[in-house]
Structures are given as structure tokens and as C-alpha cells.
């Protein structure tokens, strides 16, 4: 079947089996490989992407169900060569070691900050609680998200 969706602002489509999972559709059919494929069981959160701005585990969403929706992957975070504050925060606070969980962590952080620009550490921990970092770098991940919150220019009133 033909599945068409928007990924990082670009309309893409591919002919796939209905049973194709979103994570494989993104990586193998669209060749956008920044999204990581981890546990296959909706436990680890490595495959998190944003669907219409909200984080989902793409190993547990059919590509077919995502048709017509807007998907954002880690490749969609930077704009015009400028890193998203969340990405910069992961650099500044050493928010990654092996990097496997990082794309999913950063996307969840982006969605959190979009809804809640100044979250408490508790809220950051809650937001990433469905994702596993096996380097156990949680402390620095929380600091990285905190950095992004602290370094995001306040939206200009009326804009």
C-alpha cells in the first residue's frame, strides 16, 4: 500500500506492506536513519519520534496509521544549520555517552518544552520516564533539558 506522510517538513511516500512499522518505514523506506531501533517492544524509547508534535514509540505504530500525519525525527530538530537548544544542551551538559537513546530523548525533550517551557526537574524526569539510557546518564540528560529550557529565548509577545 502507498503510505504518504510529512517528515521533517517534507512530503514523502513509499509503497510498503501494511504491517510495516513506522520505525522501519522511516529508516528503511525513507532512508532517514537518525531514528534508532531498539527493543521492538515499546519499552526502551530509542525509536521515539514526534507525531503531530507529540512523542510516540515508532516501533508500535503502523506506518499506515501515520499516513497523513506530520512526523519529526532528530534530523528535523536543527533549523538552517542552527542546532535546537535541546541539541545544544546535550552538548553543553554532556547529555550523551554512547548516543543510542539520544535522538528519542531529545525529541521527547522538545515536545515537553513546547508544552511547558520551564519544567521542573521532576517534570523532566517524568517526561523521559518511558525511555531507557543504558549508559545511565540520566542526571546529565535532565541537566541538558534544563539547559535548553534556560537558554530558549522567551517568545516575543504577539508573535
Amino acid at each position: 500500500m502507498q503510505v504518504a506522510l510529512t517528515i521533517n517538513g517534507e512530503e514523502r511516500s513509499a509503497d510498503v506492506e501494511p504491517r510495516t512499522l513506522l520505525v522501519h518505514f522511516i529508516r528503511d523506506d525513507l532512508d532517514v536513519t537518525g531514528t534508532h531501533w531498539g527493543c521492538d517492544t515499546s519499552n526502551c524509547g530509542a525509536c521515539v519520534v514526534l507525531m503531530d508534535g507529540e512523542p510516540v514509540k515508532s516501533c508500535t505504530v503502523l506506518a499506515a496509521s501515520a499516513a497523513g500525519h506530520e512526523i519529526t525525527t532528530v534530523e528535523g530538530l536543527a533549523h538552517d544549520g542552527e542546532l535546537d537548544p535541546v541539541q545544544q544542551g546535550f552538548i553543553e551538559e554532556h547529555g550523551l555517552q554512547c548516543g543510542f537513546c539520544t535522538p528519542g530523548m531529545m525529541l521527547t525533550a522538545r515536545a515537553l518544552l513546547d508544552r511547558n517551557p520551564n519544567p521542573t526537574d521532576e517534570e523532566i524526569r517524568e517526561a523521559i520516564s518511558g525511555q531507557i539510557c543504558r549508559c545511565t546518564g540520566y542526571l546529565n540528560i535532565v541537566k541538558a533539558v534544563r539547559w535548553a529550557a534556560d537558554h530558549t529565548a522567551a517568545p516575543i509577545a504577539g508573535s
Binding site: 521515539v48 499506515a64 521527547t108
Partner: protein, 292 residues
Amino acid sequence: MQIPAAFEYERATSIENALELLQQRGPEARLLAGGHSLLPMMKLRLAAPEHLIDIDPLAEELGYIREADGEVRIGAMTRHRELLESELLADRLAIFTDAERVIADPIVRNRGTIGGALCQADPAEDLSAVCAAVKASLVIRGLDGERVLTMTEFHRGPYETAVGEAEMLVEIRVPLVMNAGSAYEKVERRVGDWAVAAAGAALRLEGGTVAEAGLALTAVGGGVTCERAEASLANQMPVEAAFVAAADLAADDCSPTADQRGSAEYKRHLARELTLRALRSAAARALGEREY
């Protein structure tokens, strides 16, 4: 790589269309709601439907929590996250808020739906006990119209409900009553896991005594309701002795089995202790001492 077995896929354009598709495709067709119970089962070949009818396009139409005619009405496609964030539920039916805090994780809660959870009827799934405790009614629609069932009629056992082949659950209705409180208590091995055991309680007080009690358990046997324990609370003062007696009955009547989450003995112990805690909390909320 875990991939479901092959199936034919269709997207429903309306409730009517979903029902027509179910009828045309026959017994090997299944509805796909949020997919966070069904897809994992399909990957493991515990489910292998030949036709999947995706009702994600109905998420808007069937995604709501509203008050009407003395009830809270919840659309079947309402996602866990919306249940968790509902102020109406937190204020009047806190059992939903208690349960949603400990269902999976925030990202899974973005997709999973109440209707999907109830229809999957996993024995360790939380919302069946929540709905049973608050005496919810389930609205099931077929091509010939609607029927409304109690949780006892709806929930037939593990993975089995009263929803027929060409029918779908469209709404959950929960009575809104005064002087009432409800709570859910769960023990899990780690954050986001299925329950080792859990208990839901709802109490309505009248003139200082219990006018109506609802008790239900998760993951400790096929059924979810605890009729003897509920009956024992009728006309009792909402005090510890009554709660202990009810918790004993709930624990006696459940039928846990040993698995990797614990022994039958441990689960029965939890059934008693969690029923007791849920009753204490429900009573405190009914009396206005809201501790949440």
C-alpha cells in the same frame, strides 16, 4: 526483528463505516485503536487478525471526556494521557487519575486508548477494574443500534468481552454522584510495568454510612469485581474495621496464579492490602479530605 504477520489494512472513515467493514470482513477482522496492546500481541503471534480496521481517524470524534445528565461520558478513543490530564476526572473520579499515573509511561499514554484497553481485556490491564469499581456502563454500537452493558456483563474474562463481531465500544459512562470518593492502588515491579496486583475502590456515603460500594481487582484472577466484599460494606460506617472485613473478603474471593511477577500467596496478600488502602483513600476523598 518483531513484525506482525501479514494482514489486510483499511482505515475507517466513520463509526458506521467501521461497523460495515467489520461485518464485511467477518470474524478474522479486528479494530485497531491506539495499537499499544494489539500490535505487541501481533508481533508475538498471540494475535493474528487477517484484517485490521484502523479507527485512528475516529480519534477526534470518539476522543472526549464530558459531563452530561449526571454522568461523565468518555469516548472510546480517548487516550490515556487525556484521562490523566482531565480536571473533571481528577476532581470527581480520582480513581482514573490514580490509575493513569501508573499505566505504562507518558509516551505509551499518548497513543493507548480507554476503549482499546477495555476491549483487549488483558487480565493485568487497569481500566477494567477502574470502570468496574465506579459501576461504569459501556455503550456498544452495532449496525442495528446501541446497547448499554454493565462492566459485569461486558468483561467476560481474560481477553474476552461481550463486544460482538460487527460491534464496537463507543462510549464509557460513569455516574457522577455526591459524597462519593474513589481510589486506585497498584503494585508493579518497576515503573511502567503491568500490575503484580491492583485494587480499585469507590464509596458513596449517605448520612455517615456507606450507601454504595464498588470494589474491583486487577491481575488476580479472571473476574474483576468483588461482590461479597462490596455487599459487606453496605450500611457500614466508613471505618477501618469495615474496610479490613471487606479487604479480607476481596482477598478470599480472588484467584491469583503464580508467575514471574510473584507467587499466588503474595498476590493475595497484595489484593487484601491494596483493597484496604484504596478503601481508606476513597473514604477520605468522599469525606472531602482530598489527599491528591
